[in-house]
């Protein structure tokens, strides 16, 4: 049966908020530790969006961004994508490694793995919140990174998802570090049964 995500009831919205609270708490702690630098995160916004609307969320499809992709398996299967803008990617590398690469399109392995770790933490924070709230067992794959046009990165999970589901979960959050504010996006593309499973567990 198709679940009508356009009309989430209040309970589901509360669950998403709770997911945001727990996930964000996890992320702030882990990110500050990893970066060894204080940072703050605003409460994220959650949205269920349809695949066709997906490209509309990007301000500029040709804009350089970093995308870190993680697959989940176990009782909740799907793809997480963490999209970072150039300014935040730059800031992370500067903070973690002390140097900024000349060209983000030509990163070395250490720089790539630092960014993958950030993606791992960001997605992992929401994945563990999800696991805690649903009691579902979720395992994650090794992250992979691509730095290129945002639209081209985003098309990877979209195409994979096109084969089945119509909906994805969009989490938008903000980081502030040293007075700068950065917008980031996490997208969860669940396998068809998985999104439904989440809301069913919550009695949606």
């Amino acid at each position: 049966m198709d679940y009508d995500y356009d009309r989430l009831d209040e309970m589901s919205i509360d669950i998403l908020k709770e997911l945001g609270n727990i996930g964000t708490g996890n992320a702030v702690t882990a990110m500050s530790q990893l970066m060894q630098h204080p940072l703050e995160m605003g409460l994220p916004s959650f949205q269920i969006i349809k695949y066709e609307e997906m490209h509309g969320i990007l301000d500029e499809t040709e804009e350089l961004q970093a995308g870190i992709i993680i697959e989940t398996e176990g009782e909740l299967r799907g793809i997480f994508l963490f999209l970072l803008k150039e300014s935040f990617t730059d800031k992370i590398l500067r903070t973690m490694l002390g140097a900024v690469p000349e060209n983000l399109l030509d990163l070395n392995d250490m720089e790539k793995s630092a960014l993958c770790e950030v993606g791992n933490i960001m997605c992992g924070s929401y994945i563990s919140a999800l696991s805690k709230l649903t009691n579902l067992m979720i395992t994650v794959s090794v992250p992979d990174i691509c730095i290129d046009m945002a639209g081209a990165i985003l098309s990877v999970p979209i195409i994979k998802g096109m084969k089945s589901s119509d909906n994805a979960l969009l989490i938008e959050n903000t980081f502030s570090m040293d007075g700068d504010i950065f917008y980031n996006r996490i997208l969860f593309f669940p396998e068809p049964d998985s999104l439904e499973k989440i809301f069913h567990i919550f009695g949606g």
Partner: protein, 160 residues
């Protein structure tokens, strides 16, 4: 004067006449199929994302699929007055964006393969291509000349 470009979104196809310009932004594993009738100066572009229907359960949109998308684009062009014997093709895209992830299943390469197979079946000559590799591409098709411009963030700019 620069012509306003008409955007061909993901899983869309569009047909224009000279001197209009068609553009598909940020193709990853998708393929931008550019068809051009040089005599009647009619241009068509399809932004296809999967090789064929067997790869998807969902869809009445032919432009999602390489094989059906090209056939549909050809029909649309003929409807606009294009003649099959003057049509040639140029293609770009079909990259593999993530190096290690198994997610993509070589979908880019399969898309390119399906595009080429379909063009061959239809007897449309492929006169230019920039496909594969590991980066995103933006593709423009100029309706006045049929020339195709491929841009990427690596600063590579090609004219097919």
């Amino acid at each position: 004067m620069r012509m306003e470009s008409i955007v061909v979104g993901i899983a869309e196809g569009k047909v224009v006449k000279a001197p209009q310009v068609l553009v598909s932004y940020a193709l990853g594993s998708c393929v931008g199929v550019c068809l051009y009738d040089a005599k009647n100066r009619i241009a068509g572009m399809a932004h296809v994302m999967l090789p064929d229907r067997s790869a998807s359960t969902a869809g009445n949109n032919e432009y999602k699929f390489a094989d059906e998308g090209i056939r549909r684009l050809l029909r649309e062009m003929k409807w606009h007055g294009a003649q099959e014997q003057y049509i040639t093709a140029k293609i770009a895209g079909g990259a593999k964006m993530f190096a290690f992830s198994k997610l993509e299943f070589e979908i880019g390469a399969k898309n390119v393969e399906s595009v080429k197979k379909t063009l061959k079946e239809l007897g449309i000559k492929l006169v230019g291509e920039d496909v594969g590799k590991n980066y995103g591409r933006t593709v423009l098709l100029y309706g006045d000349s049929g020339s195709v411009e491929v841009r990427s963030l690596k600063g590579i700019k090609l004219v097919l």
